[in-house]
């Protein structure tokens, strides 16, 4: 949690405070990017872009919004734009995201647990479903906070979240049967 005083100091032009704000949020930014994009390198690139944008736009943040939802809105928007723009980079159809399986430190640490399947299932969700799941479980946001971050009506958030979990259940059930991985 970033201290409000630190945010105010950053907005007032205190560069050290602003850098400290970025340090406080970088892990949150990276986690969202990582689970939305599904790989470390893209997550790093997008996190950098998001932090730079936050650095540039810090003065435009208004207290009527929570700082963490403002930050997550920026990150998720950049990620969503990244989904759209993959023509010349890699094919990132929303049902065709592949989490890299080689030379991935996080994956080596998680191989023994079921989270690999969960991550795989998350990566196969449509963008909007994946986004609400990430905000709900990775950022521990409430319905309201997700709605604010994504600029969505509350009922839409609930609807997406419920459908996303149902879809994940279906995908994980297929994994248990071995239908997806083959």
């Amino acid at each position: 949690m970033v201290e409000p005083q630190l945010i105010k100091a950053a907005q007032a032009g205190d560069n050290e405070a602003l850098v400290q704000v970025l340090r406080d949020i970088e892990s949150h930014v990276y986690r969202t990017a990582y689970y939305l994009l599904g790989n470390e390198q893209d997550a790093l690139d997008i996190s950098q872009e998001a932090l730079i944008r936050i650095y540039k736009k810090i003065t435009s943040y208004e207290e009527k919004a929570q700082f963490k939802t403002w930050v997550q809105r920026i990150v998720t928007n950049i990620c969503i734009d990244h989904f759209r723009k993959k023509k010349t980079t890699v094919s990132m159809d929303e049902h065709d995201i592949v989490i890299p399986t080689e030379n991935n430190v996080e994956k080596e640490l998680m191989q023994d647990i079921v989270t690999n399947d969960v991550q795989e299932a998350i990566s196969r969700l449509p963008d909007t479903y994946r986004t609400v799941i990430v905000l709900r479980y990775i950022q521990d946001f409430s319905y309201d906070e997700i709605a604010n971050a994504l600029d969505m009506p509350l009922n839409t958030v609930k609807s997406y979240l419920f459908r996303a979990r149902t879809k994940l259940q279906t995908l994980l059930h297929d994994y248990e049967k071995g239908g997806v991985h083959g």
Binding site: V19, E26, S47, L51, S60, R73, R165
Partner: protein, 382 residues
């Protein structure tokens, strides 16, 4: 309670969104419906798995990775301030030149005014001397005539010789000598008129100088004449002058208290057109139409916008990004269209919502149209 209603309660349950009564109703149904009980179990397990997803950390500090960029940005301050600073510095440069020009021009006008005053003074003096000579001649002639008349009974030959001698002396004095002598013997009226002439001339000189340094009328007259002589020059410089006057007029007014600025501008316009063009080189406006020149696009932080959206081309890690953001936006989020290998060559707003841009990739040019409202993109017509 129907199973479908219970499913929604189960979903809300994993988000801790149920009231006590709702929870009781759900559990009551679960105890009676094995299918819903299985579903609840799977849902709780999924939610538990999701909640226990590892809180991944970046391999290193991302802030440290971008710190040089942040420091660069901090050095440049905010983009708006950078623009302001550069504008101000341009203005200072221009103003310094203008001041130098003004000093040079003032000296020039001082010299011209001094020369004109001296000419007028000399001509008046010459005129006065002519008048003085005439008056002296008249006076001498009158004195001699009176002497002649008084000594009418004297020797007429002597008188005529005297008169002739005296006339000779007067003529000699007139031709050769005697300005100092005559000046010293100047009648009071003539001396007074001379002094008055000097005073008048000094006033004229000072007025002439004052006009040359502070009045716009004379300078503007010169400028108009200059402009008439060089209509092409006028055409070439007017847009630049207009552009800069739009951007710079306020700081100039603030810093120079306004009184002399028009004169400074006029002097520059009059004296050195080429230098004015250099110092008044039109700066890039913040909102631009699509450039025709590829080099303009390749420069970093190019900005193209309409009234509501601004498009910025950013270069980062060998990747070009077309960042489309709203001018007024609570969250300041933006649409980012990234191109790793392609080069964005042209950006153009087709209307208020659609922006077209060209991407050169593998020597093939593709045109895309992005709709900022619908957030959709299509390959546009070539």
């Amino acid at each position: 309670m129907k199973c479908q209603e219970v499913v929604e309660l189960m979903q809300r349950n994993v988000d801790n969104d149920l009231t006590t009564q709702e929870y009781s109703e759900m559990m009551k149904h679960i105890q009676q419906c094995s299918q819903c009980a299985d579903m609840l179990q799977r849902l709780n397990r999924l939610s538990n798995d999701l909640e226990t997803l590892p809180k991944v950390e970046p391999p290193g500090s991302i802030v440290d990775m971008i710190l040089p960029q942040l420091q660069d940005m901090a050095g440049e301050e905010k983009p708006e301030e950078v623009n302001l600073t550069s504008t101000t510095s341009t203005h200072h440069k221009h103003n310094k030149k203008a001041k130098n020009k003004k000093k040079f021009s003032a000296r020039k006008w001082m010299a011209v005014a001094g020369g004109m005053a001296a000419t007028i003074w000399i001509s008046i003096i010459a005129l006065d001397w002519n008048e003085l000579d005439h008056s002296i001649n008249d006076q001498v002639q009158e004195e001699y005539q009176s002497e002649i008349s008084e000594s009418s009974s004297a020797d007429k030959m002597h008188q005529s010789n005297s008169v002739n001698d005296t006339q000779d002396e007067v003529e000699t004095g007139k031709e050769e000598q005697t300005q100092p002598v005559e000046k010293s013997e100047m009648p009071e009226d003539n001396a007074r008129s001379m002094q008055q002439s000097e005073v008048i001339n000094k006033d004229e000189v000072s007025m002439e100088f004052a006009e040359s340094t502070t009045s716009d009328e004379q300078v503007e007259g010169e400028i108009e004449a200059e402009v008439e002589r060089n209509p092409e020059t006028q055409n070439e410089n007017s847009p630049a002058e207009d552009e800069n006057s739009r951007q710079l007029s306020q700081p100039i007014d603030k810093e120079n208290s306004g009184s002399e600025q028009p004169e400074v501008e006029s002097f520059i316009f009059e004296n050195d057109v080429s230098e004015q063009e250099e110092s008044f080189a039109p700066s890039e406006p913040e909102v631009l139409p699509a450039p025709e020149d590829k080099s303009e696009v390749e420069a970093s932080d190019d900005v193209y916008g309409n009234e509501q959206y601004v498009v910025t081309i950013e270069q980062q890690n060998e990747q070009q990004r077309l960042v489309i953001s709203m001018v007024q936006n609570e969250y300041n989020e933006a649409d980012t269209l990234s191109w790793k290998d392609g080069v964005i060559t042209t950006v153009q707003w087709l209307d208020e919502a659609r922006v077209s841009y060209h991407v050169l990739y593998n020597e093939q040019l593709t045109i895309y149209e992005y709709n900022v409202i619908e957030k959709t993109e299509v390959e546009g017509p070539s």
